[in-house]
């Protein structure tokens, strides 16, 4: 497999007088975090497989502002938002897809009030559509019968009422989807939201990601599926904390699909 992925940027396409079907908003985790970069690559491979015309902003992308806003820094959030909106509007972006529920929520819900109006979809919604359109076929039986439990990211689930797209994709893999005792509307947070990812937790008797991982492990899964780079980190740490990393994998929905497609 080649180590270099062909990823066009908006600037390149713009220079060639082209407009992609969709902007892939990579996000900070997807760009810089070693674990999350694998998710980004898996998603890009799927986009190529489905022959989606897409581009990224590359070095013109900047933090969506979500962690600043949840931390209480509305100034910094709006500075980030307005900057990003200027860039996206300059490229006349119509549709945005992202693998990060935090970027998704912010761009979808909080950018319109600041002049950024786009059709924003989460990568699980986008992939579901690609599968429905037959652009991704999912013929491999790699996950057939495997027990997979799905962790609802707060900013995808409760925040935006998206519960089914990721689940439908797992079912498409012929895997056995097992639910945790807290799922969908009652899903328990992984502990990363509200800028907690970037600070030590407050004093307590347990870490939230450990609590959530215990709920996941109760379902005796082979894979804990996530749909958020931060949830992925928290659950991966939780599984390590429980010393189960040899038996239980934490994977993004995009990674599951990419593996099933042998990408």
């Amino acid at each position: 497999m080649s180590s270099e992925l062909k990823v066009p940027t908006m600037a390149e396409l713009f220079a060639a007088g082209q407009q992609p079907e969709v902007l892939f908003w990579v996000g900070c985790a997807g760009s810089f975090d070693d674990r999350a970069k694998k998710i980004t690559k898996a998603f890009v491979k799927l986009l190529h497989r489905a022959k989606v015309s897409f581009a990224v902003l590359g070095t013109e992308e900047s933090c969506s502002g979500d962690p600043a806003k949840r931390a209480g820094n509305e100034f910094l959030f709006q500075m980030q938002a307005v900057t990003n909106i200027e860039v996206m509007n300059a490229y006349a972006v119509k549709k945005v897809v992202t693998a990060c529920p935090h970027c998704f929520n912010t761009i979808k819900n909080e950018y319109p009030g600041l002049g950024g109006n786009y059709e924003v979809v989460h990568h699980t919604q986008f992939l579901k559509q690609l599968v429905a359109d037959g652009r991704i076929r999912l013929e491999g039986g790699r996950f057939k019968g495997k027990r997979i439990t799905y962790h609802d990211p707060c900013y995808l689930g409760r925040a935006n009422d998206i519960y089914e797209a990721p689940r439908e994709l797992i079912k498409k893999l012929d895997a056995e989807l097992v639910e945790m005792k807290n799922c969908r509307k009652k899903g328990l947070c992984c502990g990363a939201g509200g800028a907690q990812m970037f600070k030590e937790p407050e004093k307590g008797d347990k870490d939230i990601n450990v609590e959530r991982t215990e709920q996941a492990l109760e379902t005796r899964p082979e894979v804990i599926a996530a749909a958020c780079p931060f949830c992925n980190t928290m659950m991966t740490d939780g599984v390590k904390n429980k010393e189960k990393e040899a038996a239980v994998a934490v994977m993004d929905i995009a990674e599951l699909l990419a593996q099933a497609e042998d990408l």
Partner: protein, 441 residues
């Protein structure tokens, strides 16, 4: 002398309702201390939400045991209130069972009230057991010590007494009807209270009338008392759940408000033609304070939320921070907001309409920094509330004050924000490296 009971009744009724009106006025004044927010949009959806969530109790049954018990007590109280209407008319006019000409319908109504009264008693007993014997986690959290616990039990005792009085009244009435006492029309059917007959064995008509009248008077006075107790208790939800669900959030839960005051400044900063040294316009209003440190900084909906909270603790029991032993309890956020609001309201009232600084505020004196920083903004509390209260919005407003007015964020978060400011990512990576992942194996 003949009209003495009617006059007495009129006085009791006017006093009870008058006092209640005074409390409603105070309540509405308190809520208006909050900042204005325009929620006049989308009326059809708002009415629908109110009908579905408050009237239809759809979110109560998410927890089936408490939900079904609550629906029984709720229906009981609403339906039995038809009886209160009759009592009030009887009291004013000196009639007895004025609705009795309804005939069979009246029999059915009274029978339904009695059966509901028994179900309500069962519900109340179950609630009492859950709080005091089983001691469910969410009822014994630290913020439930003292008055909140007593308040909850007092409400159950009131309701129990009211239902008991209602049944005793009917039972005595039925005996009087059997004995053919004057004034006691043959009306109603008494599927429950007829079995209370042994209580009245050997009583004369005079004694029975005494029992029936006492129960009747205590029942109506109890209801008026209860009505006025609401303002001092967590039980205001029986009224405020309706406006609160009407004004509930209609946006996606993940969408937090963008502060307009900030937008203005950001736009100015981003405008290359703006003069950075320009003096502010003469009539420019004093800039808003960013975020909230006290109740007056919150919106009136957030204050309405605080009065509406009945301290059921579903929010707290779903809160990931609380579940893992952190100090944060979304219910306590609401209780603190209300306690402080009542303190401010009293301050203003005693100082003839102006607030005299009392050296206290919601932030710090009621809600600690530690609580605010424990929140993951996961919306579990918002989802859990059966009547559309939003504790998260208060937490976020107070974080804004801490960060934008006081620069009092935890140092890790300051680092994160510094990184975003300098290189456009929460970690110290260069923005120019954002595409490096494409050529890493």
């Amino acid at each position: 002398m003949e009209y003495l009971p009617n006059i007495l009744f009129g006085i009791v009724l006017i006093a009870g309702i008058g006092f209640f009106a005074r409390n409603v006025k105070r309540l509405s004044k308190s809520i208006k201390l909050g900042k204005d927010i325009d929620l006049s949009d989308n009326k059809p959806l708002r009415w629908k939400n109110m009908a579905r969530i408050a009237l239809g109790q759809t979110k109560m049954v998410v927890r089936p045991i408490a939900g079904i018990l609550h629906i029984i007590v709720y229906l009981g109280f609403i339906i039995i209130n038809i009886e209160v209407l009759e009592i009030i008319i009887d009291g004013i006019l000196g009639t007895h069972r004025v609705f009795s000409p309804l005939g069979v319908l009246y029999d059915v109504l009274i029978a339904a009230f009695e059966i509901l009264a028994v179900l309500v008693i069962v519900g109340i007993l179950a609630f009492w057991v859950r709080r005091n014997i089983i001691r469910l986690q969410r009822f014994i959290k630290p913020e439930m010590k003292g008055w909140p616990k007593r308040d909850a039990n007092l409400i159950l005792y009131f309701e129990l007494i009211l239902m008991g009085l209602f049944l005793v009244m009917n039972a005595a009435d039925y005996q009087l009807q059997l004995k053919g006492a004057a004034h006691y029309v043959q009306a109603g059917s008494f599927p429950v209270s007829q079995f209370l007959a042994p209580l009245f064995q050997g009583m004369s008509i005079g004694d029975l009338i005494l029992v029936e009248r006492s129960a009747w008077w205590l029942h109506i006075m109890g209801i008026l008392f209860f009505l006025n107790y609401l303002y001092y208790s967590k039980h205001l939800h029986i009224l405020l759940a309706f406006p609160n669900t009407y004004y509930g959030n209609l946006r996606p839960k993940g969408q937090f408000r963008n502060l307009e005051a900030v937008t203005k400044e950001v736009k100015l900063m981003m405008d290359p033609s703006a003069d950075p040294f320009a003096a502010p316009a003469e009539d420019a209003p004093v800039p808003d304070k960013f975020g909230a440190s006290d109740v007056m900084d919150l919106s009136w909906v957030q204050l309405l939320n605080a009065y509406t909270c009945t301290e059921c603790g579903r929010c707290t029991s779903e809160c990931p921070a609380n579940q893992t032993g952190k100090k944060l309890s979304p219910r306590k956020i609401m209780m603190d907001t209300r306690d402080r609001l009542e303190e401010v309201e009293k301050n203003i009232r005693l100082n003839k309409g102006t607030f005299v600084a009392d050296g206290k505020q919601l932030l710090g004196d009621y809600i600690s920094h530690e609580e605010l920083w424990a929140c993951t903004s996961c919306n579990a509390c918002v989802e859990a509330c059966p009547i559309s209260i939003d504790p998260l919005s208060i937490i976020m407003d107070m974080r804004q004050y801490l960060v934008m007015e006081q620069s009092a964020a935890p140092s890790d978060l300051n680092n994160m924000m510094g990184n975003i400011e300098n290189n456009g990512a929460p970690w110290p990576f260069n923005q120019m490296d954002r595409l490096n992942w494409t050529n890493e194996s």
